[in-house]
Symmetry: none
Subunit: 228 residues, 2 copies
DNA sequence: AAAAATGGTCATGTGGTTGTAACATTTGCT
DNA sequence: AGCAAATGTTACAACCACATGACCATTTTT
């Protein structure tokens, strides 16, 4: 897991409860009481997921969701709406505003965690700690171990994240820019060609297991992980 | 086990019965008839678990649970709700207020003990008295003794708790923050690097048995206990 | 009260990690 | 074939994370 999750909730008790549960589940909660505060936090550090209360003082939750969806940088951040009403209309509006899921209060911590995991699995699988097994390679985020054809593979931190992302998004080409955004993170200023170097290091580490062939170059476009 | 368990129950007969059973199971019961009394007890000595009656005179059980969850110091204390109703709605609200489990009256001592053990194990496996044996290391919480390959290992209190946590959560990387939360307690303000020092002390104590290799560094992420 | 144990912080050294540049090689195209 | 663009490969310097020992304050034991 270990995702950074922004909680936008004006009720202190509920905010506290949610933050506590997120921490227990291994996430890192960021808190905001209103949309403006949330916007500032998003500006400085892009969260991996947003838990957004429907009813907020000032700008409403839906408006905030729409703003997130408008900006290119924040467009892909998953959003889960928290709502007190179980009204179908609200659900539709929330989903229309770009929410990935919504939870009706009151909800149990168990349900919250389940939905967060589901959304992350769908939108950012490299954030979960599910074991990824593909083409003879096995990557276990929890124990931070990799094995290829049974043999252990040793990687540096960056190569580990890179491989994890590639394995959770296989059979599709990623441009260098996309890889920088996803693996290095937002707000990082690094040369594009640096990706090449890390791809090289990754391949080199995989060579002993002959699994370096899984990391493929697509000339003019980027790189791809393919088990086929 | 040997946990300190706070029983909040207004019915004297039931309180007595529960306290007796807890004592039989090796726990140390603290008793309170109402929320205020319970709050005082919690203030003076933090229990390892709270058994909380749903129906209380004055402040209700749920409110008390919420108060426990709000205060930083008591946030992590597991709560088991005792309820006469078997209503599904109540179950959800109890969990929402932060309860870890609930038992419907009437219940058998056996069921109570099972749930207590389960909650303690789930919430904090390192709190139970079960002997942990892994990779040639044997840690006995009850006698507070450790042996590596048959030879006794002497540890300070913090190193003991650290090793206990690591051994009950093996094959998985823990960040310094997680270790501080789990081993030191999350209301403590300590430098992250302090973890390094205690890892060092733990390793040093394990060196004579050559078992220090079980405590592994995962650069950029944290530490891992691995018997593999 | 003295002695010992414990716990947290800091300074320092070391080795791993990272980004970049420079050069080599491959690829696609005319 | 010859050329230009894209990618592979290597070397390296700066940086960062970790290990380690020392130190001091505090607590516990004697």
């Amino acid at each position: 897991m270990a995702a950074t999750i922004l909680v936008v909730e004006d009720e202190p008790a509920i905010q506290e409860l949610i933050a506590y549960n997120l921490k227990q589940a291994g996430h890192q909660p960021l808190r905001a009481d209103n949309a403006e505060q949330a916007m500032n936090l998003v500006q400085s550090a892009l969260p991996d997921l947003v838990l957004l209360d429907w009813m907020l003082p000032g700008q409403s939750g839906i408006d905030f969701a729409r703003r997130l969806r408008t900006d290119k940088r924040t467009r892909t951040v998953p959003i889960i709406m928290l709502t007190a009403r179980s009204d179908e209309q609200d659900k539709l509006m929330g989903l229309d505003a770009g929410a990935d899921d919504y939870i009706t209060k009151p909800f149990s911590p168990r349900e919250l965690n389940a939905r967060i995991k589901a959304v992350l699995r769908r939108r950012a699988p490299q954030m979960t700690d599910d074991v990824v097994q593909l083409g003879g390679l096995k990557l276990d985020p929890a124990s931070h171990r990799i094995s290829g054809n049974g043999e252990p593979v040793i990687l540096g931190p960056t190569e580990f994240r890179l491989l994890h992302f590639l394995m959770t998004h296989p059979e599709r080409v990623h441009s260098r820019t996309q890889l920088l955004d996803q693996v290095w993170g937002d707000h990082v200023f690094v040369e594009e060609r640096t990706v090449d170097v890390h791809i090289r290091r990754l391949r080199k580490a995989l060579e002993p297991t002959r699994l370096d062939r899984l990391v493929q170059t697509v000339r003019g476009t980027g790189y791809r992980f393919s088990a086929i």
